[in-house]
């Protein structure tokens, strides 16, 4: 049985998350991935923003930085640029990363700065009580959308790909093994690596939208997941309301801090 304890600050337990929250599945998958890659706690920095997902950093026995709302990637950029030997992992949510922090998300991906970003996409602002987010599906209710959301949603992974991320994967907490695998691949990949993880918020999203208990939401993730290879042969209509999972992008592009190091060396020689 895997021993999570060495990576945790057990004195900070119990977790702040509600019963049935999917974030704990990601926490455990992250620890397993870190263990498998072999990152050391001293040489790893976990950075988060504000929201339920971002409370993860407090429970992890690493260099941990819980920042302001939406700005985790900016703090992480400072950490990585100033001390490139640190492995940087950013933990954020759909509202944190793509609403208030959307601009930073685009630019961190564009720079292709070497960090792993986990977006916990639960389609809602959970911590503040269930307001709609940029990923709340049209028609679904939030505390600020009592008649259902009338807005279009972000395709987070598509956004990261377009902005220039070198690794993009999408999965759901219904497949914990895959979450672990993609986080591991993301950590191992040089450059900006995103894993978008769909996770359930039974308290603020499921309850309001009559999606059942946590287990029902997990089952729905599993039933609606379509692998990227299968999705390629499906029509847009068939893919509506489906979650396309898999490694969506895996490419090599110049990495920001390495390019800066080259610049330092070239100007120092001249």
């Amino acid at each position: 049985m895997f021993d999570y304890d060495p990576y945790l600050r057990l004195s900070k337990f119990p977790l702040i998350w509600c019963a049935g929250c999917g974030d704990g599945i990601i926490l455990k998958a992250l620890i397993r991935a870190i263990h498998k890659v072999g990152l050391t706690q001293d040489n790893t920095c976990l950075v988060s923003g504000i929201g339920c997902s971002s409370r993860l950093t407090g429970y992890m026995d690493f260099n941990t930085l819980h920042t302001t709302h939406g700005r985790a990637l900016t703090f992480a950029t400072g950490v990585k640029m100033a001390r490139p030997e640190l492995n940087v992992i950013v933990v954020t949510g759909d509202g944190d990363a793509t609403a208030i922090g959307g601009n930073h998300f685009i630019h961190a991906a564009r720079r292709n700065i070497d960090m792993t970003v986990l977006i916990f996409n639960n389609f809602i602002y959970g911590m503040t009580g269930g307001q709609v987010s940029p990923t709340t599906p049209r028609g679904k209710k939030g505390s600020t959308a009592p008649y259902g959301s009338f807005e279009n949603t972000f395709n987070i992974s598509g956004l990261a790909e377009a902005a220039g991320a070198s690794f993009v994967a999408r999965t759901t907490v219904a497949n914990a093994t895959q979450v672990e695998l993609y986080i591991k691949k993301a950590i191992e990949k040089k450059g900006f690596s995103l894993v978008e993880i769909m996770t359930q918020c039974p308290t603020a999203f499921g309850r309001r939208n009559r999606l059942g208990a946590a287990v029902d939401m997990l089952r729905s993730f599993a039933e609606n997941s379509v692998s990227i290879s299968k999705a390629r042969s499906m029509t847009a209509e068939e893919l509506e309301d489906k979650i396309v999972t898999g490694v969506l992008v895996d490419t090599d592009r110049p990495e920001c801090r390495e390019e800066y190091q080259k610049l330092i060396e070239s100007v120092r020689q001249s």
């Binding site: 407090g58 260099n63 920042t67 700005r71 990637l73 992480a76 400072g78």
Partner: protein, 413 residues
Amino acid sequence: MPRFCDCRYFAQTRDATRKLGVRSGSENQDGTVEMNVDSKTRVITGNEACAEGAVVAGMRFYAGYPITPSSEIAEILSYELPRRGGVFIQMEDEIASMGAIIGASLTGAKSMTATSGPGFSLMQENIGYAAMAEVPCVIVNVMRGGPSTGLPTLPSQGDVMQARWGTHGDHPIIVLAPFSVAETYEMTIRAFNLAEQFRTPVILLLDEIIGHVNEKVRLPEKSAIKIIDRIKPNNSPQDYLPYQHTGSGVPPMANFGEGYRYHVTGLAHDETGFPTNSSEEIEKLLDRLHKKIDRKRDEIVEVETYLMDDARIGIVSYGSSGRSSRSAVRLAREAGIKAGLLRLKTIWPFADKEIKKLGSGIRHWIVPELNLGQIAHEVEWATGSRVPVTKINRVDGNPISPLDIVEIIKRVN
């Protein structure tokens, strides 16, 4: 050159100055005119002095976003920092710039950003984070006219209150305001020293005049400059408390990546750095945050007096308005009026004690500033309204002329 300015950008200004020769024989701060130009004398702007001072102070991380009238600071540092192995990065906005310098500082790099009014507004939330999480950093604001986009190329001193209270909640802050190019250099170094000593953000308020004016300077030798670095923990990582209630109020600071794993948050936290809802812990934290600055207030606050000993009319001013005030005092003295100047080198903490003590013989205060009276109110408070305070204000993008001040001196005399 065996001096610290032995890099190309700064060398260019030195060479240019040499070619300028006697053309740089301008009036010094003390009223004398010095015509000799030797190899150590240069003509540079305040923005240049700021960039050079930062490098000398040990700054090795700069993140910023272009904005007039501060952009030269970024441009110079984009050239200089890579040559020294330091990091320059242009971020996507000022919010990101502020976040990046906090992140970098946590790894041990002395960090800075520079901006002007609109960008300074955007930085406010993260400035509060730096105050709460006690992350040393320097924020330069080359003030321009506001509100809003305002007057990008024209001077103002409209951000002195924003520098004090721009971020939400009660927080301590240190704000410095130089009045010359030479002083910009010294104060930039001091800003880093204070940031490191107190684990706090320090704001350097230039204004467009100070940022862009060309002045002759003789910068001190590096050996004559005192550099302060943050105190690192001397106990084991197991015993390390990142927010310990130490006697000085300033906890030792470990760098990320050096074996001291700890948690940093903008939430109210206890000595371990973790969020707390305990009223007792919250009170202890906020009390310490304020007291670490308050108890050293007398060391932090600096004023400069000019002909104050027998003065009956006192001027309180700062930054570029301090220059006009100095000339006005000299002109008033020539007219036989006992005027003096008390110039604020630190804006915050406020020099109330100094104004009371050094101004005991003053029967009328005059406060010239490029805003509608932000510091004048502080002077009224400091003097307990026992002495009349006359404001001289401009917000039209023009500096206050010495003659404008002389006219008021004569009127109240």
